[in-house]
Symmetry: none
Subunit: 194 residues, 4 copies
DNA sequence: AATGAATGAGTATTCATTCAT
DNA sequence: TATGAATGAATACTCATTCAT
């Protein structure tokens, strides 16, 4: 016996959806993905809504505006990146161990891939023009330095942090993958190991 | 020997050139300025036209489109930055001299200021998604390395180049200016000086 | 005789009324305030809800829609303005007394200030396009005339009523306050006093 | 012989339009009409564009924004209304002639109909909240008074002007047309005729 | 050759209203 | 009963690009 399905003439195609707790939360994650994919400039309400499979109005319901959502996305991303740093260097005690850990980080073996770094650079650039985001980048930078300063002195920490930033950016930009051994050699010098 | 009238492929039928013959050229410069001021995302035909005090139609007359103009602006900027590198390191012979030169570069005493670096980061990020710009960044990066490789080995060159990139970015992002002596100390290690 | 429980058509099954039992009533007042502040065009569910410190859903719960609420707000305002007329002219018997009373009304010494008149004009204009509101304005206008006709003939009543309308509007629009003595002089002529 | 008209497969449905000088000018007129029809609140870009049979983008090309267009529409309307006053009272010399002229004006026999007055009231209300429009209303009001002051003293001018305003508004709001003779009688008193 | 007008696609945002809870 | 989430239509506005002049 066939149940229901009596085709009335103007049956609407199922309104569905509705009641989606955590949507707000999910939207922030989707926004991060869209930034990774299309850059800040290409991050539009429409694109996020489409990626999250959510109606357009939902975005401005949950967030004051695109700027608001963007800021939250960046804040979350920075927090995650800081957590990656934190946990990646958690067991490191000596400069020798740090050397391997930093090399791993640069080469993507630490929980943050090119995509994540790309978002980070988007954040950096956005922060250059938006003071509100400066706070996010500064908090993040302070956290990173603090992690490194558990093992090395502040000057070295600043050097390593800067080196990571630059090497990763060049790695992302280059077509050819740089050799791990070379990276290790450079990091070793900044760390004054050997 | 007749100097003029060398029949090149695009011989125009007596140019006449109403006035403002270097407008095309000037527009590229203005575009760089607008990118510095408003970022790639905020760089529109209208904004450039206004900044150059030129009618809107003039932009699409001289350039295929915005993308075209942007690419030319980035190309020119990269060439200029490469020239800054080139001339800044021109007289440098020893690692000791290089140490000072690099420190100067990072601290803005080399012909490239924060504004210039900001455009460079805009380019980096744009190149991440536009293969056409990848060529520009790679050419530039190769040129930078070549300059450094006149003085140090390739691995060190890559390290110094990356360190400059990272330190400058962090300097631009930070509110407080980092101390020159610290920078020098870090660079010294990568250069293996002292 | 039992006072309560008169079985009217809409006998509710023991109201219970959680709290804020006069919310509905209060919302109408808040709506009037919002109209005064932002005009009909700027009177939105959200704005009223915010001004009343009430959840958004509360508005559509208590009222069929915005139009409904607006109509009720205007109706109440017109009733209040009519009451102001009524009580302001209550003790007036002679044309001489009326002359002072009208002058006072125009100059805001009668319980209705510029803000109230602004809402009145919003109503007038809205009524121009919404027949439902026409009823409100006509009832109000009839009431006003009736008040005046207790003292003067219908033609004079219509004249005075019109004059009040026009003088108040010009007073509201003008930057400089008109002189009371002038107003009095004009009103005197329409009333044929002196 | 059949000329042209060789039907290619993807013939677009005629782009037409283009080159429409005076469009800007025409848009201001259309805006006035839309305000008359739908009120300020209902005057949207879309509505004006549709009424003028012009693409949406054309509006923001010619005007800074809706506010700009609205202001220009009101300014033009006020100028026209002032011109109506001016020419309507041009030949008037005596108070007796003025009496007839004012009565005609109120009853719509002077080149300004209900529709025009409705726009005027829209302007009044808009001016209440927008200082920029205050200038328009004040200029207009000054012009009206100046016209009347050629015939009567300033106080009387202010009274007549106010009376016209009020009587016209009530006439527009009322369903039944008031009797001309009554209007004349009231105006006569303010003018102190007979 | 040069440009101002024109246009259609796309942007963020606001909002009245519906509805599951 | 009351409400916060949800949604789709509508809003003003921006813009790259086209094109008649």
């Amino acid at each position: 016996m066939i149940t229901g399905a009596v085709a009335g003439p103007e049956r609407t195609p199922a309104p569905v959806r509705r009641h989606d707790p955590e949507r707000r939360d999910r939207l922030v994650d989707v926004a991060i993905e869209v930034i990774a994919e299309h850059g800040v400039a290409g991050t539009t309400h429409r694109r996020i809504a489409a990626a999250a499979d959510v109606p357009l109005g939902s975005l401005t319901y949950h967030f004051t505006g695109l700027e608001d959502l963007r800021a939250q996305a960046f804040t979350r991303h920075a927090a995650r990146m800081a957590a990656v740093y934190e946990s990646h260097f958690a067991g490191v005690r000596t400069r020798e161990e740090l050397l391997d850990a930093v090399t791993d980080l640069v080469h993507g073996n630490a929980g943050a891939d090119d995509r994540d770094w790309a978002v980070a650079y988007e954040l950096h650039l956005a922060a250059l023009r938006d003071p509100a985001l400066r706070e996010v980048t500064e908090t993040w930078m302070r956290a990173s330095r603090a992690v490194l300063e558990r093992i090395v002195d502040p000057v070295t920490a600043r050097g390593v942090d800067g080196l990571i930033e630059g090497l990763v950016m060049h790695k992302i930009l280059s077509t050819g993958e740089p050799r791990r051994e070379e990276t290790r050699q450079i990091v070793a010098r900044v760390l004054d190991v050997r």
